[in-house]
Symmetry: C2
Subunit: 198 residues, 2 copies
């Protein structure tokens, strides 16, 4: 189909990436070809360095280039507050809000008995080890899935004897949504979780 093997090869590789189909892959490759050679080289170098210089923080298990990571080694963040998330990209999402100034803990998944993912397959034990008497609150900021719910219940049960406040993200109407277009489940949760008008 292509008149050049190197193009064919990289289109093939690009199209294995999530949300990149064959057509998009092709468009990307032709775009890269039209750029300066340096662009392709800097992309190649960044890819080589990516695995080379990325490690897991031994405290929070987020991706980092220094151990402990900049969050865990920060002197200004609240070390008594731990926000538990499923994946490293969730840390980025919460950091973007600029509202949270505590620590993180990345589980790298959720419990999923059907797929054989138990507490030992995700970073639950490591979370427990961090939950010393100094920790005041653990925020379980997991996604809205059945597996996440199971994980929340499991961790909450483990933390109960330690007299640590365990919280979860509130459910309700997303900002800017019309009632009319909100799905029933979300609306039911918003009703259930209604708060006093202050």
């Amino acid at each position: 189909m292509f008149t050049s093997k190197p193009i064919e090869k990289i289109v093939e590789l690009f199209s294995t990436l999530p949300s990149i189909g064959k057509k998009t892959a092709q468009r990307l490759v032709f775009y890269i070809l039209r750029q300066d050679k340096d662009f392709a080289l800097s992309l190649a170098n960044a890819l080589i360095e990516l695995h080379e210089h990325t490690l897991y923080c031994s405290t929070c298990f987020n991706f980092t280039d220094t151990d402990p990571c900049i969050v865990c080694s920060s002197q200004t963040r609240k070390s008594r507050l731990i926000c538990v998330v499923e994946e490293p990209q969730d840390v980025t999402a919460i950091e973007k809000t600029r509202e949270y100034k505590g620590m993180y803990h990345v589980l790298h998944g959720t419990l999923n008995p059907l797929e054989g993912i138990g507490p030992n397959e995700i970073k639950v034990r490591e979370l427990l080890q961090r939950c010393t008497t100094e920790v005041e609150e653990v925020i379980l900021a997991l996604n809205a899935s059945v597996e996440a719910e199971l994980t929340i219940q499991y961790i909450a049960k483990l933390l109960k004897p330690l007299s640590i406040t365990v919280t979860r993200l509130s459910r309700g109407l997303p900002v800017g949504t019309d009632l009319e277009y909100t799905d029933e489940a979300t609306l039911a949760r918003a009703l259930e979780g209604r708060v006093n008008v202050q």
Copy 2:
């Protein structure tokens, strides 16, 4: 925003690619991180080889890894038929139809007086040099834009004295479309270009 410089760098680079926003770039990078290190390395190598081993065919100006390219050097394709396209990806699109067995000529753009792109900025002269007495037909398979129209008229005028048949792609209803949802311009062209029922 990111807790790792190498991640930040590659997200930055990826998000300069067309149709890749910051969020998609981030998803791609985290996907690559979750794969084997070899995947990132093979992607890096493919990027390095891309420019290294890709050149322009000196006959048709398509991207190729051999000169002349496999189309131009083919013994089975019709050398008397030249299909003129704007960009290398158009060759891929036409090859996919498996209907065309002639040669190609990539212009690398269209005439655009407003942006200062004249005949010397695209491969028009090179096309004329190929249009010897042996060539029977030149198909102008350009996009449906004002600039492409200008380019078609310009090339047709140049080829007229050479007694070469100059054709263009037909305009009409795309396969599988309902009349009801077809835009006026396309419908007008389909009416104008109506053919006898056989």
